[in-house]
């Protein structure tokens, strides 16, 4: 094992994330097709809307397994630092925006956007890793 991107844990991670992402996109597309805009919350609509959530839970599971299976301690440190930066990034934006919502008339930010914000934070973390160490991480 001499290259971060050839790490077996990273290959397994990618092999899990790709089908989960395809399942997520498919489930969101199906839910959008089945549920009309402004539909009431009932057992059927809630059940259909929750299906993409299963794929999102799968993402979290895949990321947790990645950290557990990554046996290179330096790369694991970089990945964990990336996750922490992403968490701080998402929390900072949502908290500050929440205060703006509380005291002003800015539009409400849907909680749906917390996850995409966290993913943007991952990219920020990757950039920080690269600037500080010359290695962005595995993923």
């Amino acid at each position: 094992m001499t290259n971060a991107s050839r790490n077996p844990a990273y290959r397994r991670y990618t092999g899990r994330m790709i089908p989960l992402s395809l399942a997520y996109v498919g489930a969101v597309g199906l839910a959008s097709w089945l549920i009309p805009d402004g539909a009431a919350a009932n057992v059927a609509t809630v059940a259909i809307a929750l299906v993409p959530g299963l794929a999102a839970l799968g993402w979290i599971w895949a990321m947790a397994r990645f950290l557990v299976e990554l046996d290179d301690e330096y790369l694991r440190m970089l990945e964990i630092r990336k996750f922490l930066i992403a968490t701080g990034f998402a929390l900072a934006i949502t908290n500050v925006w929440g205060l703006l919502e509380l005291f002003t008339t800015v539009p409400a930010l849907s909680v749906f956007f917390v996850w995409p914000l966290w993913c943007v934070g991952l990219a920020v973390g990757q950039l920080v890793n690269w600037r500080q160490t010359g290695v962005a991480g595995c993923a």
Binding site: M1, T2, N3, D72, Y74, L75, T133
Partner: protein, 69 residues
Amino acid sequence: MKNRLKLLRAERGWSQGDLAAQLGISRQSVNAIETGKYDPSLPLAFRIADLFGARIEDIFLRDAQQQEA
């Protein structure tokens, strides 16, 4: 933390990739340790020491040793 890893590796004519392969870690990890950007855990430090047939303190220098060097 400063260390003599690069010197020991060069004495054996190993590349960073060679050393990484023998330790079962990435080349990036070897580079980070050699340049002092990352201090290895105790188990990894023992593996490095065992590979070179040396003691950990012969490879990794304490702060006082760094000042003397």
